[in-house]
C-alpha cells in the first residue's frame, strides 16, 4: 500500500510518501505527484521517512519531478531516506542528482 500526501509547509511544497513504491503502486503515486509539476517559485521536499522501498518506476517519478522543477529554476530536496531506499539511489548512480536534507 502506498500513501501520498502533498501539502504546503513553511512556503515549500512537501510530498510525503508512505509505504512501498513498487511497479504496481507507481501509476497511482505518479498521478498523486502530478500537481508538483506545476509548482513555480517554491522548493519541493519529498519526505521519504516512511518510504520502505522504491523500484525503478518509483525512481522515474522522482526524476520526472526533478526535471519539471529544475526547468523552472526550483530545487527538489529529499528528506529522511531509509537505508534501503538510499541504497537504490547509490547503486543506480542517482545519489548525486538529488539534494538530500
Amino acid at each position: 500500500m502506498m500513501k501520498t500526501t502533498i501539502q504546503e509547509i513553511d512556503g515549500n511544497m512537501v510530498a510525503t510518501l508512505e509505504g512501498i513504491l513498487d511497479t504496481a503502486a507507481a501509476p497511482e503515486t505518479a498521478k498523486a505527484m502530478e500537481p508538483l509539476n506545476d509548482v513555480e517559485g517554491k522548493d519541493i521536499i519529498i519526505d521519504c521517512t516512511k518510504l520502505e522501498y522504491i523500484s525503478s518506476s518509483g525512481l522515474r517519478i522522482f526524476l520526472d519531478v526533478l526535471q519539471h522543477v529544475e526547468d523552472k529554476g526550483g530545487h527538489v530536496y529529499i528528506k529522511g531516506l531509509t537505508d534501503d531506499v538510499r541504497a537504490v539511489f547509490a547503486i543506480t548512480g542517482f545519489i548525486n542528482l538529488f539534494e538530500f536534507k
Partner: protein, 346 residues
Amino acid sequence: MRQYRELRPTLEKLSEDAYGKMRQALSEQGIYVTAIEHRVKSEKSLAGKLELKGAKYKSINDITDLVGMRVITFYTDEVDKVAAIAKRIFDIDWSESVDKRKLHQLDSFGYNSLHYICRLKTGGPRFELQMRTALQHVWSTIEHDTGYKGIVKMPKEYLRQFSRLAGMLELVDDEFSRLRMVLTDYRRQIQTLVKSGHLNEVPLSTDTFRSFLETHPFDRLNRRIAAVNQAEIYPAPMIVYLPVLESFGLETLGDVHQFIDDNSDDAYQLAVSQLAITDLDILSSSAALQYLCLVYVLKHDGGRDELKAIYDTINGESDANGMVADLMLGQAQTLSFMQRSKSDGK
C-alpha cells in the same frame, strides 16, 4: 498630449511587437544578453520633455522615443551583433541614429551607447533602440543618478574624476571581451587535442573535463553495466566527479583515460554485483564513473573512510554517506580485484 493619448494603444502594441521581434531574432542567432527592456514613454515623462524642448517638435511624430527598447549585452562586440540584427529586422532612420561610441574626443571618455531610430518593416511610428553593454549601462545609470549632465555646471576636478572612472569601465569592458576571445581560442585548442587523442598534453580542469565528456568516454562501460538489467541510461551531470579525480592525483586527460582503461573491468564487476540481484532497470549516466572511482579507491588500499569521502565530495558531507560506503565495501569484499589487491599487498 491629446495626440499622445490617442496614439497610446498603438504605441503599446508597437512596444510589444518590436520587443517580440528582437527577442526572437536574438534567440535564433544564439545571442544571450543581460536584458531586453522596452517601454512606452509615460505621460509625465513626455510632459517634462515637452516643457524642456517643446519648441523643437512640430508634431508628435517628431518625437522618436515615445517607444523605447534597450538591449543590454555582456560584451562590447555583441553590441555590434545586436546592431546588425536590428538593421536586418527593422528599418533604420539613419538621419537620426547615433553611434555615441564614435562621438568622443580623443582625450575624453563617457557615455558609450549605440542608438538607432527604427521603424517596423510593416510601417507605423518610429521607436528608439539603445544598444549597450552591461558596464555601459552601469555608467549611464550612475551618470544619470549623479546629475553629471545637470543644469549646475560641475567643477573641473569632479569632471576629471568622472572621466577617469568612465575610462576605467571602457578598459574593463574591452578586457572582458579580449579575455573571452582568449578563452574561446583555448577551448578550441583543447577540443582539437581531445579529438586528435593527444590527451597527455591536456591538463585536467573544469573546461578540459567538459570537452572530454563530450567524447562520451564512459558510454561503453555504462552500456556494459546497463545490459545486466536491460536498463535505460538516464543523463546526469558528471562534472561533480572532477574533484574526486583530482584527489586521486590525476593531472591530465591522459591520466583519466588510463584510469578508465585500468579500472573498467573491475568497476563492471562491482556494478554487476550490486545490480544483478535487483530488478532496477534505470541507470544514471554517471554510474560508470561512480563505480570507477569506488574501484580505484579500493585498489589503492582505501577503506570505508575513503569511499565515504567520494560521496561526501559529490553529494555533500553527511553521516548517511557512511552507510552507502559500507554497502559498497561489503559487496566489493568478495570480488576478484579485492583478492588481487590483498595478495599484491602481501
